[in-house]
């Protein structure tokens, strides 16, 4: 086999979450109230468009969560039976797909779509007469627009041509997809294809197909242009060490997703269990849990995280023998950050659930169960938990955007992810002084800003749609 699969811990948790997500979807499809609420989300155009965007981000993140070590080229003259050597470098499927972006590293800064570097340099040019002359000019990039050769003036036309061709292909593909979807819908309800098409675009379907297709159209168009140009140019420019910014932005997505999602793996069980138990049993159990979360809450969040992360750093730095590779260390540090964030952020949800559980326990169906002598554990799991699920779901999607934003701030403060790990936070941190340069280097920050903004905005919009659909007062 040419590759050796590697399962990082964060990969494990991500795929665990995917499995949990699939399981939850299956379960809620069988719960009419939950299914109806999800149906309302599906009817909400903004919600569906946001979910589509998030799915695109999730796809990037998932591709980036399948890791492997590529086989090293066999040494010359090695016998076939000899042990195969694998690279120490751990790559992901996304890295593999983005090999051109990843490997074509320039010397230093270059503007988006540029063919030359951003700053003048002293260069030695061989004159026609064979003598060397030193001059100060913008050096030609090694990879950006390399296909043009010396014919740099053609660059704008070349870029426009490539972009248009890609866009055209994208649009054709998208139209085909639209036709397919509307055709299938038409067949399902038994109307002509034309009528199906009309219904989709007039929003007369229960599921907001028009929002999904429109969002998909935007994604396909952007993706097509990126693919069309990315092979030849640095679409978002390069950073200080010449690395492609587009590659960095795409890699940041996984970090943001891990922070936003894996954290909830810690938060949810704690918040749900402690919140419900406190509300249902009351008495000294309630006092104890309340004391616990008031104490945790009273330490300002950033400081508690800072203290915990500092201590984690001490542990990591004094035990280098725990980690086989740098990737593994960065990965575990990321997980530890999720763990710390989870431990410090369960209190809000727990308090909310406790309040609701206090109300629910007085409801008559709980008393009816008590009148049958049903055990407390069964009452908790059958009567309380399902009726608090909507709060948990709302909290889950609402927290996501907050966690993504928090990662950037924490990484900036120096208590976030490992500095070697690409994330929005580290990108901003590396790029923030560049605006102060003359002339300013703006593209790294802009790219990070745009991607992060779109991700968080989509998450917030979806959260709104979910809250509207699940909040019983709205129903």
């Amino acid at each position: 086999m040419p590759i050796q699969p590697v399962l990082l811990w964060s990969d494990f948790f991500i795929w665990l979450l995917v499995a949990a997500g699939v399981g939850a979807a299956w379960w809620s499809a069988r719960q009419p109230l939950l299914a109806a609420a999800w149906g309302r989300v599906g009817h909400n155009r903004v919600g569906v468009a946001a979910a589509t965007l998030l799915a695109a981000f999730a796809l990037v993140g998932l591709l980036d969560s399948l890791h492997y070590r590529p086989q090293l080229p066999a040494k010359a003259g090695a016998s076939p039976g000899e042990k195969i050597n694998y690279s120490v470098e751990v790559l992901s499927l996304l890295d593999g797909l983005l090999t051109p972006l990843r490997t074509r590293v320039e010397k230093t800064y270059s503007e988006p779509l540029a063919t030359r570097a951003y700053a003048k340099e002293m260069m030695e040019v061989r004159q026609e007469d064979g003598s060397l002359r030193t001059l100060r000019d913008y050096p030609r990039l090694r990879f950006g627009g390399a296909a043009l050769g010396a014919d740099e003036v053609r660059a704008p036309a070349d870029i426009a041509g490539r972009a248009l061709r890609a866009l055209l292909a994208g649009v054709v593909g998208w139209l085909a997809l639209c036709a397919l979807v509307s055709g299938r819908l038409a067949r399902k309800v038994g109307v002509p294809r034309r009528e199906g098409w009309r219904r989709v675009w007039h929003g007369e379907t229960t599921f907001a197909w028009n929002a999904l297709l429109a969002a998909l159209g935007v994604i396909v168009a952007l993706l097509a242009v990126l693919v069309g140009l990315g092979g030849e140019y640095h679409v978002f420019g390069t950073d200080k060490v010449g690395q492609d910014v587009l590659y960095q932005v795409l890699k940041s997505v996984r970090t943001a997703l891990v922070i936003g999602l894996v954290t909830t793996l810690v938060t949810l069980p704690l918040a749900v269990f402690l919140g419900i138990v406190a509300g249902y049993f009351r008495g000294w159990i309630d006092d104890l849990i309340q004391y616990l979360y008031t104490t945790l809450n009273s330490i300002p969040g950033v400081l508690l995280i800072a203290a915990a992360v500092l201590m984690m750093q001490v542990a990591i730095d004094t035990h280098p023998q725990w980690f086989a590779t740098a990737a593994e260390r960065a990965d575990l540090r990321l997980l530890a950050l999720c763990f710390i964030l989870g431990l410090t952020s369960w209190t809000g949800l727990a308090r909310l659930l406790r309040g609701e559980a206090l109300k629910l326990r007085e409801l008559e169906y709980v008393q009816a169960a008590q009148a049958f002598g049903v055990s407390d554990l069964r009452i908790l799991s059958r009567h309380l938990l399902p009726n608090l699920m909507h709060i948990v779901i709302i909290a889950l999607v609402m927290d996501f955007s907050g966690l993504v934003l928090a990662e950037a701030v924490l990484s900036y403060v120096g208590i976030g992810v490992d500095p070697t790990m690409i994330s929005f936070g580290t990108m901003i941190n590396n790029a923030r002084m560049e605006l102060g340069r003359e002339p300013a280097v703006w593209w790294s920050l802009t790219a990070a800003f745009v991607f992060m903004f779109v991700l968080v905005l989509a998450a917030n919009l979806l959260a709104d749609a979910v809250r509207d659909a699940f909040d019983p007062r709205m129903a």
Partner: protein
């Protein structure tokens, strides 16, 4: 249309509503909730708009004030107050009408007052808006208003906040706010529904006096035939967003015409139909989205024929000021109509004949039957904690020494006003609350203080049916799972086919077998209550504790549930501990009655004894406070009308001596010092009052 002619007949009408239609926007369309509503109210007249929940009566009232919620839309029609067209007024002009021309009081006094403003401020606002009074003059006026609505010490009350007032006082304050702008018309939307009967009686008296004094018009919105009988000069009956009958009060109660109105009367429980099935209305009120074409009552009407289903009936005159919207009273059908009227009249008046085939009420149970449930000196106290260290400084004596006996197969009604501790008794019997003292004997076995595990096997012998059908079923469970819950919890050891048992139970409570896989939200209130009864029956209990099982239901649905309970008792020999505040229900199905006041039972005996010859002054007052839905039946209970002053004191600080003495007209020095002992007046009759010794 009859309108133009009527208009000419009543030139003095204060409020004139013509063809008012309104709807609610949702999901991109507007659903019509009320259509073609026309009526008028004259100065000094009380017009009652009667209807069951969801018929559009409250929405109509809000539309008059142009206060519909955001989704509400007025679709057409005309509302004239003293000749001014309100729907055409600019918002600024409308503001002078609200609170000035007409004022409104609402159902929930507890939430209708602003919790963080003083009473004085809330009254003062109206005075500032609609009168020239300011400063000291306004304060004096506010004081006067409070005095006018019967609030003692008004100067002090002006500085108090709503949470410092009792429920009845809050409603009095609401009325004083409504009166502050000197309105010509008072719109009262279920003004006493949230109040206890004795307080309801006070508030109704107050409204009647104020109206007479000020020559106000009053639009009274209610679902309670008793309140209508007590208050209204004229009545309009609404069904599914339409007015179906309108009549002067006397004519209305003598001879209700519309089949719906007649069915409402027939569904009322009382002693005359004891042991008989109550008449019910088949089906349910149609939803806004699925209004039937033609007459809206046709799908549920026993007399409907094709014409009713296709053509909406027009008004037909049916006597002096009496009109009805029913094809039965159209041309050529006089004979049928007459027969119906006669039947309806018969049914609404009939008192004596039916009583005969009822099981002799109050017949003392044979002594050979040992009591199924015996409660002796039951106490449930809740500690009150105060101060820095939350020390217990006292107790709320929710139940303070209650003794009861219930024979197998019989019904004991526990009657009392809210806060008297009747629900607490029920829960303490089931050990859902730990009794502080006393004993609960089930079939001779002590269950008070039993451990959870020791209690478990006994739980299948008694079960509970709760008040609120919307809160008593877990919305996330299928009906089948809900009903099987008790089977799984208590009969896990016995091998049995759960599915078959559940199906049998559903059939027993009159539900379709297909209900098993459906969820509670797909059912109406009455159906949910059937499910709750099936859940309780699943473990084959001998004793069912029914905690106000019908108080959240409309009259016609209440009748169905009462019928079901009666059948179940007859076929299964169940004993009911029936907790209620509704005497009509008590009369209908109870064998024995116990009246509770502030945690203690003041009087108990057979239904016949207690309801026919009440002895305790509290029982007498309670009975006389209930507004009788049939004018003929009024005064039957105890001759003269007794009005209780004040309200029930807090069970945390019950008055010394007899708890009832501060409100009792016969209180003596002894009453203030010592709580009276039980005194047996007959084999079945016990009273706790110093008047009897």
């Amino acid at each position: 249309m009859v309108e133009p002619a009527r208009n000419a007949l009543e030139p003095t009408s204060l409020l004139e509503v013509r063809n008012l239609s309104l709807g609610f926007a949702g999901g991109g369309r507007v659903l019509t909730a009320v259509s073609g509503l026309s009526f008028s109210v004259a100065a000094g007249e009380t017009y009652a708009l009667l209807g069951e929940s969801g018929c559009g009566k409250s929405a109509s009232a809000l539309a008059l004030m142009r206060l519909l919620p955001a989704a509400g839309r007025i679709l057409g029609g005309e509302v004239r107050l003293e000749g001014r067209d309100l729907l055409g007024l600019a918002e600024a002009e409308m503001r002078s009408v609200r609170g000035g021309g007409m004022a409104m009081i609402f159902q929930e006094p507890a939430t209708s007052l602003n919790p963080v403003l003083t009473v004085g401020r809330q009254i003062g606002e109206v005075l500032a808006q609609h009168t020239d009074l300011a400063g000291e003059a306004a304060r004096a006026k506010a004081e006067k208003l409070l005095a006018a609505v019967g609030i003692a010490d008004p100067a002090r009350r002006l500085c108090e906040y709503p949470f410092q007032l009792s429920g009845g006082m809050k409603q009095r304050v609401m009325i004083s706010i409504a009166l502050a702008g000197n309105p010509r018309l008072l719109v009262a939307d279920e003004p006493t529904t949230a109040l206890d009967v004795t307080i309801q009686a006070q508030i109704l008296d107050l409204l009647q006096d104020l109206q007479a004094e000020r020559e106000m018009g009053m639009l009274l919105i209610t679902h309670d035939l008793g309140v209508v009988a007590r208050m209204a000069h004229r009545v309009g009956v609404m069904y599914a967003g339409e007015l179906v009958e309108e009549a002067p009060a006397a004519g209305f109660f003598d001879a209700p015409r519309h089949p719906y109105t007649q069915a409402l009367f027939a569904a009322l429980p009382d002693l005359s139909r004891r042991g008989m099935r109550l008449q019910t209305i088949a089906g349910q009120v149609p939803t806004l989205a699925a209004m039937p074409a033609g007459c809206r009552f046709a799908p549920r009407c026993p007399h409907a024929w094709e014409r009713c289903r296709s053509e909406s009936p027009d008004w037909s005159a049916a006597g002096e000021g009496h009109r009805v919207r029913c094809h039965l009273y159209g041309e050529g059908l006089e004979a049928t109509a007459k027969r119906l009227v006669a039947e309806g009249t018969e049914r609404s008046r009939n008192a004596s004949v039916a009583g005969e085939d009822a099981p002799a009420p109050g017949s003392a149970s044979p002594p050979s039957h040992p009591p199924l449930l015996r409660i002796a000196d039951l106490q449930v106290h809740f500690p009150i904690r105060r101060g820095v260290f939350q020390r217990t400084v006292g107790h709320v004596r929710a139940v303070d020494g209650v003794s009861l006996t219930l024979t197998a197969g019989k019904t004991l009604a526990l009657v009392g006003e809210s806060g008297c501790g009747k629900t607490t008794v029920g829960k303490a019997v089931l050990q859902l609350l730990r009794p502080t003292g006393g004993s609960v004997l089930l079939d001779g076995r002590e269950i008070a203080g039993l451990s959870r595990s020791a209690m478990r096997p006994l739980r299948r012998r008694m079960q509970m049916v709760f008040q609120d059908p919307f809160a008593s079923l877990n919305p996330r469970l299928r009906v089948g799972e809900i009903i099987a819950e008790g089977l799984r919890a208590l009969l896990a050891g016995e091998r049995r086919d759960t599915a078959a048992v559940v199906a049998a139970l559903l059939a027993q409570v009159g539900l379709d077998a297909g209900a098993v896989d459906r969820y509670p939200h797909e059912f109406s209130g009455g159906q949910r209550q059937r499910i709750a009864i099936a859940r309780a029956l699943a473990v084959q209990p001998e004793l069912l504790i029914c905690d106000e099982p019908t108080s959240a239901l409309d009259v016609s649905v209440q009748a169905q549930i009462l019928n079901l309970l009666g059948e179940l008792q007859a076929s299964l020999g169940l004993a009911y501990l029936f907790i209620t505040h509704n005497f009509a229900v008590v009369e209908h199905l109870a064998h024995e009655v116990a009246v509770m006041y502030l945690g203690r039972i003041v009087e108990r005996g057979t239904v016949e004894e207690v309801l026919r010859q009440p002895q305790h002054p509290y029982t007498k007052a309670l009975l006389s406070a209930v507004p009788a839905p049939r004018p003929a039946a009024a005064g039957e209970a105890g001759g003269s009308i007794i009005r209780l002053p004040g309200e029930t004191p807090s069970p945390a600080k019950p008055p010394a001596g007899c708890h009832f003495h501060p409100r009792c007209a016969f209180a003596t020095a002894e009453c203030r010092e010592r709580y009276p002992d039980e005194r047996a007046l007959s084999a079945t009759r016990v009273v706790r009052c110093h008047l009897y010794r």
